[in-house]
Symmetry: D2
Subunit: 371 residues, 4 copies
Amino acid sequence: MRKLKLGMVGGGDGAFIGAVHRMAANLDGHWDLVAGCLSSTAEKAHRSAEVLGLARSYSSFEEMAARERARTDGIDAVSIVTPNHMHIPIARAFLQAGIHVLCDKPLTTDLAQAEAFAAECENYEHHFFLTHNYSATPMIRQAKAMVANGDLGDIRLIHAEYLQDWLSRPAEPENAQAAWRTDPSRTGGAGAIGDIGTHAYHLATFVLNEQASHLAADLNSFVEGRKVDDNANILLRFGSGARGSIFASQVATGSENGLKLRIHGTKGGLFWEQENPNQLIFTALGGVEQRITRAGSGAGDAANAVSRIPAGHPEGYLEAFATLYRDIACALAGKTDAAKDVPRLSDGVAGMRFIHACQQSSVANSAWHAL
Amino acid sequence: MRKLKLGMVGGGDGAFIGAVHRMAANLDGHWDLVAGCLSSTAEKAHRSAEVLGLARSYSSFEEMAARERARTDGIDAVSIVTPNHMHIPIARAFLQAGIHVLCDKPLTTDLAQAEAFAAECENYEHHFFLTHNYSATPMIRQAKAMVANGDLGDIRLIHAEYLQDWLSRPAEPENAQAAWRTDPSRTGGAGAIGDIGTHAYHLATFVLNEQASHLAADLNSFVEGRKVDDNANILLRFGSGARGSIFASQVATGSENGLKLRIHGTKGGLFWEQENPNQLIFTALGGVEQRITRAGSGAGDAANAVSRIPAGHPEGYLEAFATLYRDIACALAGKTDAAKDVPRLSDGVAGMRFIHACQQSSVANSAWHAL
Amino acid sequence: MRKLKLGMVGGGDGAFIGAVHRMAANLDGHWDLVAGCLSSTAEKAHRSAEVLGLARSYSSFEEMAARERARTDGIDAVSIVTPNHMHIPIARAFLQAGIHVLCDKPLTTDLAQAEAFAAECENYEHHFFLTHNYSATPMIRQAKAMVANGDLGDIRLIHAEYLQDWLSRPAEPENAQAAWRTDPSRTGGAGAIGDIGTHAYHLATFVLNEQASHLAADLNSFVEGRKVDDNANILLRFGSGARGSIFASQVATGSENGLKLRIHGTKGGLFWEQENPNQLIFTALGGVEQRITRAGSGAGDAANAVSRIPAGHPEGYLEAFATLYRDIACALAGKTDAAKDVPRLSDGVAGMRFIHACQQSSVANSAWHAL
Amino acid sequence: MRKLKLGMVGGGDGAFIGAVHRMAANLDGHWDLVAGCLSSTAEKAHRSAEVLGLARSYSSFEEMAARERARTDGIDAVSIVTPNHMHIPIARAFLQAGIHVLCDKPLTTDLAQAEAFAAECENYEHHFFLTHNYSATPMIRQAKAMVANGDLGDIRLIHAEYLQDWLSRPAEPENAQAAWRTDPSRTGGAGAIGDIGTHAYHLATFVLNEQASHLAADLNSFVEGRKVDDNANILLRFGSGARGSIFASQVATGSENGLKLRIHGTKGGLFWEQENPNQLIFTALGGVEQRITRAGSGAGDAANAVSRIPAGHPEGYLEAFATLYRDIACALAGKTDAAKDVPRLSDGVAGMRFIHACQQSSVANSAWHAL
């Protein structure tokens, strides 16, 4: 399988997620990062490229798309790791240039744009992938398989939460991460619900294999002067009859990256938490609680397919992220179904629908809103 | 301090909570159980009394109240451990007989009755205590003290949950515990919200020292044929600006007695779970997570006052329950403030207000309802 | 079943374990504490008795034994909760007076005395019980039953440890607990090995149902000026071929009451820790790790027999201690086998043999010493 | 910083650790794997190289060393991931060829060889690194820094254990991993002590910054027919006065990769476990237990230097392994001190000294043996 050539837009000096993408692309050896437009400021972009030893550095994404298209050794795919408002313009440029796209979540700044872009993409031949990385965690794949297999019976309850505390105080201007994430002109208005709520919602619906039908949301901006939500308490209803919740918070003091998922069905219950991701707690109704471990005897094919090392040797955040890159590389190399669990445009639209419904419900004093 | 004489109504053969009360009353040696009407069926009452070696067994609570009042060595207090619908009639009989009352929660079957009884009790000289036992856990007392002391700053979020799975299937008729708890004629219509939701709500508001101002509730009866709620997802708002939630479920497969409490303020966050009750997790914003243990160096006066044995020697459910009995004994013996943290009638009314608001909100499609 | 009358020697004002015994005796309502000689100082003994509301207070244990024997309503049993060097003289006095004995561990100050006393006891008709309380924990009874049942196959490894840190600094003279426990004239020379090592050793051999054949011990006194061991690292060998270890330390900073037990056999492994005692972790070889909970679906008869409340409602240190009192009460009331798992004199001798072997091995530079 | 060229000896099809090395080398993008002799069987070597898309595949390590030396674009370093008995011959060949060596542990098959090789290496100009990967875990670096900084005071106790259960049954011949690890002709005679005991011993002494002075070992081969130890219970003494232990087992049923480390000093105690590696539990004597997290507010420079992503985003086994590759790349690129914490030849000799002492002590019935 030949190595694929990767480009990157965003992710320059000081960015968190750009470095994550690079390590994720590196891990399994399927990608070479060869080109980038690492910042919207050309000078910073070139400086960052130099630090990374990047062969081809561009001053604008438009230039990058055009020039890469023109090369015989142009990039196979581009990773978009910019603030939300730039996702679609950049993705469009590369898709039109015949280059596959891997894009950070949330898809964009509002639902209407998302839906229009989804329609537009019908015309493009190249793929659009969305990096909801947590869905590639082995024990999440295990959970999804167990739900599909009926091990939990009919699902009654699903609670997902994603709690952090790093925005408990007003964001300091020099913190670039915090700055754009609390700036509605770049996020589209969503705060916690966009940055982490969409992860929690995606995770829940990915495992359940069902979108919520309605939600009721209570959004807050606890920090003085904050222009986006920093806490969301959300109730969910599903067409199947299941009920649930999403809590997303960036002011939950004492929380680092507290993404957790609980599912209760007529036959069994599951619990998983991201900060200790190599185990899945499962209890069959009337049975004894089991700790299913990654690569352990209780792990099935779905988990094992995305597991790299033996049980007891922890895999983490980067490994799951790398699985997206590996699956995409395999898919682009022609392995059918390799990327069947990698989130796509429809997941991005679902995420925007979630954000939109949260905002609509919240202004309607938490009235149920259809998704 | 002389030993006090205790009576009991309910709690006969096969009952769970009656035995708990007896052990709790025994532990510290302040009470002698001497009289009882242990069942609404006289024959069962007497049989149960014989098994327990109870000196005085009565066929009805009315007879018991009258006779005990008449004795010079009559009981000092009675514990009421019957289904909800009998709480008030029995309490009334004993209070009128000049006997203190310890009553199980919830207070009664509906809010109107609760409020009427609270008004009525203004006329009684004797005390009414409600056994929200979890509030007597040392680390909960610690949590309350830390909130009061400002260690968490202004409270932004409070999430309480109480998840069980023992009613995940239709109740078997021979299971007396399950039978009355799912029978609206005995519970008053509430299921999980009354049986365990009131515990979670009390715990949250006890620690916070503030009642919720509004709630939005989504109640469900998942089990076919069930006539009371078996799951409640509830959002909370507080006058102080805090937001929160209560989850109460008896169909959350994999849960035994999962009562948990999380509080997040501007300065710090707390986490406690009942199944591992001897520790309280505290993180000051920007600090390192701490595990404060019962009787350990981080425990303060409030926790130490209700702690019996050294750190690392676990106390449990019965010890906290016993603290209620000890505090009440001390208070009845004239120790001022001994029972200041023991729940009373007002807590019972607050619990009924919670149940009522849940039911009203739920029928109004989860609209916010004032408490 | 009539209530039994209990006496106590030791356990006056400020003592830790005396209060524990009283609560343990109270919990299930089978005992009334009616007499005591609560201190070796008569004045302190009487003052303590008054605080406890004790009917009969004696100035010496000899007087107490004589007078209680003479009464028609004399005590049925006495609890001995003094420093080690007084255990045998007191036990002898009461056994000769026809009164059953419950005695704290370790049995006495040296092995020769222990063996002589065991021989002497052949002549007494009344019972001698030793309060190795941890052996009465439900999940320890479960573990013992699982080992006996072959669920672990042939046992290969057993590691027990009991780590504390409360003696990490020189004992302050006003700390009575620390003072006698570090005074060789009262302990007999053993420090950590006697106070907690015997608990760990008993627990391991109780579950395994086999005494070690040999041990190799490295004893230390880390704290300057300390005259007894405060740390013991011990290797074990068993006649069955199993190997293991005991760590006992009172200078293991960060440890509260860290008693833990691990057993590995050809078919499965077990783990239990005292600070979270309501669960037993079991993994069948090649299977998934299970968390067996007290009163949960995985708990068997042996555990259920000593369990009081439903799963998820934690029982703790006092409940296990109370089980010893309950079992003894039932046995004295004629229930055959009720106290079959309560430690006796032979356990006390085994404990002294353990202490003796540790000391002999340690002076022989950790050479293996037969038990 | 230019990318370095890496070669590999061993690590062909089906090998565990070869794949680990490749991912570790990939993660940070500092290495390109360009050459290999992936198996001692030429045909298998070439087949494996083809699967990996390796440019240059050799039939023997001697040929590889010679040819790579001759190329202007020859490899900068080679990773040796073969059974133990081949480590030194291969390392010698590459060092003599002017190529740096990264070698798996243990260094070789016996102490005499190790010492002779160490002397020989004085003559080589190129580096020899040993991949004790766990020492590169951020929270281990944190622990080492805290010990060095005196946060624990004088160290009294250090307990390390490494428990697995994957060799609880006789190794199946088709399991290549198990086969060579239980074959004395390839391991040199050591089983668990070499494969995992050396990791535990290295970890303990790395953090403590002191080798043990003496050990007493009880080695066993529990599985019938096994020719190497599969369990080792070892006591340690240090010149500083500290005491400790190493347990290494491959028959500890219920254990996956249970490497744990506990240290107790006069001022504080530490606990770390590999299966949940992003936290370090620290308790100052008399203080509250703290959970120091990777990249959290309690983490210091030493941990942060080897941490890649924010707190709460778990790093795992591969990340720590990758840190070795990154540090070595930086050191080879001229960054002074970049690899100061990467294990070297002296660590390899210390590991062999540990193995030797275990074997000598065990045959002397666990007598203390100097290291």
